[in-house]
């Protein structure tokens, strides 16, 4: 069954005719061609598909598409500004070696973003709890935690 829905995607009002049995992840990747949001497991156990809905991080693979009607959805493609300037979280990931194969990175960045929006100065434990739902095989998480810490510190210049 198909239905038309409207929602805000990366700051713009969008509409789409969707198959109601799809998830937000399916629609983002297949209909909007926003492939930055990754599918790593499809069942909410890896976090690669993390996006923000109304400011909260969720696994888009477990979000029925009809539930985003009227919601504000932000994906990794929506973090940089119009001029392509990256979000401080993205910059920090680059500068601190938090990226290796990069497959978990978009989801990890979104979880970090959600954490910092809620708590701009998290402790290391809070950072680790904030990204616990995002599995990474390459980094051992350490440089990711360092990157997130760096965003919370005042810039030194």
């Amino acid at each position: 069954m198909k239905k038309e829905i409207f929602f805000t995607l990366n700051g713009k009002l969008v509409n789409a005719e969707v198959d109601v049995s799809r998830t937000l992840l399916d629609v983002l990747r297949e209909q909007f061609e926003l492939t930055g949001t990754k599918e790593g497991c499809g069942v909410g156990e890896c976090g690669a598909c993390t996006v923000l809905i109304n400011g909260l991080s969720i696994n888009s693979c477990l979000m029925p598409i009809l539930e985003v009607e009227s919601a504000d959805v932000v994906t990794v493609e929506g973090l940089a500004d119009e001029q392509g300037r990256l979000d401080p979280v993205q910059e920090a990931f680059i500068q601190h070696g938090a990226v290796q194969c990069g497959f978990c990175t978009p989801g990890m960045v979104m979880s970090a973003k959600a954490l910092l929006m809620e708590n701009p100065h998290p402790t290391e434990d809070q950072i680790r709890a904030g990204i616990a739902g995002n599995l990474c095989r390459c980094t051992g998480y350490i440089q990711i935690v360092e990157a997130i810490k760096a965003v919370t510190e005042p810039t030194r210049d």
Partner: protein, 336 residues
């Protein structure tokens, strides 16, 4: 019972998942079968995309009507995570999903004498509730370690309870907090004490045409304190191998236990209270001898099983260890 056997003997018990929010109804899940499926594992992968219809009622009445009209292949979803996982794994094949997400006023934590929690309250809302943090640490211990932030932002306490998995993380704290579940059916509401709620793995006493709406928890009466321990293999994104919940109410001397409530997850086919052990604590102070007796009583009342995740003997050992530790922690919190 079919599901339990299926889970334990043939495949990893995915329905043990803490975030598996099943049906808000008393339906047991029907497992689909195909000719090729033997163990069920991954035979089809995660992409099976049988189509279904999706309804978004905006009142409990409307949801009940839809449920009544849709037949037995309609499934209610709360957070929605469990149903989608089961469908992707080919474990269920719903013709329609009826979402409770758009019904207003089902998500709240309120204190008016008792603590009232709306069934659609997410684990994350409970985790960040200052009321829960300060007065119900036993529940806070449980919700903060369920799944991940993403899961806790989605999954609800109602779903966790109705799922009735032996490992549901919120079940034993709610049992220890003497929760009563209010369910609505076409004929009106009824209240079910949680001690009577679970009838088997994945099975509750609810009728197929009922919807769980809220929980009432015991009144906060200091000096009191509680604690929950989730025994798991890793620090996050895991299921409990055992859940131990202890809630203690003290006499004014802050030493003698006036009332004790102990409850366990994954120590039997359903989350359950340890009544005999509670009786051994009441009227007593915490001494090593009392703790030994309590732990022994708890073990006698449980029936742990072997699974791929842990063996029965280990679970039983850990019941003893963590019953004592959680009693001590609850005492600390009660007297802090």
């Amino acid at each position: 019972m079919v599901i339990y056997l299926n889970l334990t003997r043939q495949r990893m018990p995915l329905t043990d998942s803490p975030w598996l929010l099943v049906t808000f109804t008393g339906h047991s899940l029907k497992t689909t079968s195909t000719k090729q499926r033997v163990t069920g594992n991954a035979k089809k992968g995660y992409r099976t995309m049988k189509r279904y219809d999706y309804f978004k009622p905006t009142s409990v009445e409307e949801a009940l009507d839809l449920l009544a009209g849709a037949g037995d292949r309609a499934v209610l979803i709360a957070g929605g995570t469990d149903v989608l996982v089961k469908r992707k794994l080919g474990q269920i094949d719903p013709a329609a999903l009826i979402s409770l997400k758009n019904i207003p006023d089902m998500s709240y934590v309120k204190e008016n004498g008792m603590l009232t929690i709306g069934a659609m309250t997410t684990h994350r809302q409970l985790e960040t509730s200052s009321l829960v943090q300060s007065r119900y640490p036993i529940l806070h211990d449980a919700v903060k370690n369920i799944g991940s932030v993403q899961i806790r932002n989605t999954a609800t306490i109602g779903g966790n309870i109705v799922n009735a998995a032996p490992s549901a993380d919120t079940a034993s704290p709610l049992l220890a907090l003497e929760a009563v579940a209010r369910v609505r059916g076409a004929q009106g509401s009824r209240d079910i004490p949680l001690t009577e709620f679970f009838v088997g793995p994945g099975q509750t006493i609810m009728q197929p045409n009922e919807i769980l709406t809220e929980f009432f928890l015991t009144k906060y009466t200091p000096p009191c304190g509680g604690a929950y321990y989730k025994l798991s293999r890793r620090a996050a994104m895991d299921l409990p191998l055992l859940g131990v919940a202890v809630q203690l109410y003290l006499e004014p001397d802050k030493q003698t236990i006036k009332k004790a409530r102990l409850a366990y997850g994954v120590a039997g086919p359903t989350p359950r209270r340890a009544f005999a052990a509670e009786a051994l604590l009441e009227g007593r102070t915490v001494t090593p001898e009392v703790l030994d007796g309590v732990a022994q009583a708890v073990c006698q009342g449980t029936s742990c099983r072997n699974s791929l995740r842990a063996s029965a003997w280990y679970r039983e050992e850990m019941i003893t260890v963590f019953t004592k530790r959680m009693i001590k922690l609850a005492m600390e919190r009660a007297t802090a």
